[in-house]
Amino acid sequence: MKSLRVMIWPYVIWLGIIILIPSLFIILATVSSFHIFNDYTFRFTSEFIRFLSDPIFLNAFKNSIKYAGLTTMICLLVGYPVAYFFANMKSKNKTLYIALLIVPIWSNMIVRIIAWENVFKPVSIINLFNLSFDLIGYDVAIIIAMVSMYLPFMIFPIYAVLDKMDHKLIEAAHDLGAGDFQTFYKVTFPLSLGGIVSGIIMTLLPAMTAFALPERIGGGKVILLGNLIEKQIFRGSFNIAATVSLVVMIVMLGLFALIVHFDKEGETLL
């Protein structure tokens, strides 16, 4: 195996170039200011602390939490029964059905976002069915689109845990006097917590940093953290963009620490 160790170097170098160095730049850009479009000056600043209480940032942060939180909650409520259903399915075609759930992820997310955008416009293909929506810019449209994007990421970790669960444990619970609901509440659900936590994080993380989706379906009116970063960069405010990025990074690392805590074997991570 030692001879194979050299093969991880391309990845390590790749990681260093595209993750580590830019991350260091983000930290540097947060605590300093350089106006590359103006005067090339460089000085340390604590400006970012003030920005953390700026209404623009707070609004984006609140939006991110609101849309991502709502999306995650709906994904969990919809996804858990789906995962449960598939895990308990006795059909020989189980793998096929699971594959059907994966297929949508294979097509590009931007394409799917634009598809939803079209559906929510007054003139769209669904006019064929005598339906017409005018929902661009509305919360309901954003949430529907986000749920459809991230639902598979909720289903799979939960499915993985439920599918692997020893069926004898369910029988044991029944045997000891637990009805269907008690068995679910006392055995199945607690044992699937690892999958639930993974699913929540797999949904929450990308949803919080969603950027193309709120941009297109929010009609430019809804600003999430991702949109704020984009806008600040185009304005040349690297200091502020870096600050927002750092906040996102810290939130992500925190959530990742949670995953590792709840799922020590990493079996639910896709």
Binding site: L169, A172, A173, D175, L176, G177, G179, Q182, L191
Partner: protein, 342 residues
């Protein structure tokens, strides 16, 4: 004795394969009964029907006279010790054992006392807060037993509970289970493919093969009076020879007439004769059944000696050593001859 369970004409098939063929059986109160048979004989399916996890295709199960087929597992006064224990991994020892009583909403103090009692019974005092994953196989086994027994079931089902344990531990547990059954006064239904286990622990042994009951009896009956070739060869080692039952108390095999204690066969019926290896003595001289020692293996308590008699190999267990190549003759008492229908 009162009948606790009556199984009437139970049949069950999985995907066209008939795994239980019209089983009839009753289980007495306070009995330690064992379903014994090779894997795939239907013994576990029968157990699962008793527990309520499987539904029979036809036939009924009565519990104290009442048909229980439609009662779901969680409402039956029956508990199971699963083969691989099926302990809840997210609960500690205490929570596992207390599971059944908590569901019954018993007061906390009562549960605490009951769990303590159970831990004492299975010799795991002080293990309350241990994580299941930190327990050895034998300890997990004991928790599984405690978790089932604490509910004071009228019937305890044990699905090959000792299969995963090593020999020494298995023997200890056999003894302890038997003691526990006596002390608790609970009816035990034990499933195993291990004939020694079945003979050691049971009041009654039910020998099964291919979905049918071949013989029901005490361990002594099953061992000494096997009903057919399968039972004879599955339970212990045996020499089985074809023969003819000339008339009551007279059997002919290997071309010789022997007095025996069997009767009730048709005159001149073709039968099979069983001789247990430990019932045969080797003697010098001529008894009519003469042969040459072809192999001898030391087995600890006894030697396993193979004697070739006119081309047929006999297995003999003896504490006396023999030399390979030696001429010997076989002798046995008339009680040792056992005649079975072909």
């Amino acid at each position: 004795m009162k009948k606790l369970i009556e199984i009437e004409n139970i049949s069950k098939s999985f995907d066209e394969t008939l795994v239980l063929k019209s089983i009839n059986l009753y289980i007495n109160e306070n009995e330690f009964i064992t379903f014994l048979g090779p894997s795939g004989c239907g013994k576990t399916t029968l157990l699962r029907i008793l527990a309520g996890f499987e539904k029979a295709d036809s036939g009924v199960v009565r519990f104290e006279g009442d048909i229980i087929d439609l009662i779901p597992p969680h409402k039956r006064p029956i508990n199971t010790v699963f083969q691989k224990y099926a302990l809840f991994p997210h609960m500690n020892v205490y929570e596992n054992i207390a599971f059944g009583l908590k569901l019954k909403k018993r007061p906390k103090e009562e549960i605490e006392i009951a769990v303590k009692e159970m831990l004492k019974l299975v010799k795991l005092e002080g293990f309350e807060n241990r994580d299941i994953k930190t327990l050895s196989g034998g300890q997990q086994q004991r928790v599984a037993i405690a978790r089932a027994v604490i509910n004071k079931p009228k019937l305890l089902l044990l699905d090959e509970p000792l299969a995963a344990l090593d020999l020494k531990l298995r023997q200890d547990m056999q003894y302890e289970l038997k003691e526990m059954q006596r002390a608790l006064g609970i009816t035990f239904v034990f499933v195993t493919h291990d004939q020694e286990e079945a003979l050691t622990m049971s009041d009654t042994v039910v020998v099964m093969n291919e979905g049918e009951i071949l013989q029901i009896g005490t361990p002594q009956d099953i061992y000494n009076e096997p009903k057919n070739r399968f039972v004879a060869s599955f339970i212990g080692e045996s020499n089985i020879m074809p023969g003819i039952m000339k008339k009551d108390f007279l059997v002919n095999f290997e071309g010789l007439d022997f007095e025996c204690v069997d009767y009730g066969f048709k005159d001149n019926e073709e039968i099979e004769v069983v001789l247990r290896p430990e019932d045969i003595d080797l003697k010098p001289g001529d008894t009519g059944l003469n042969g040459i020692v072809t192999d001898i293996t030391f087995k600890g308590v006894h030697y396993e000696i193979i004697v070739d008699v006119k081309g047929k190999e006999y297995i003999i267990h003896s504490t006396d050593i023999q030399r390979v190549g030696e001429r010997v003759s076989l002798s046995f008492d008339k009680e040792d001859i056992h005649v079975m229908h072909k």
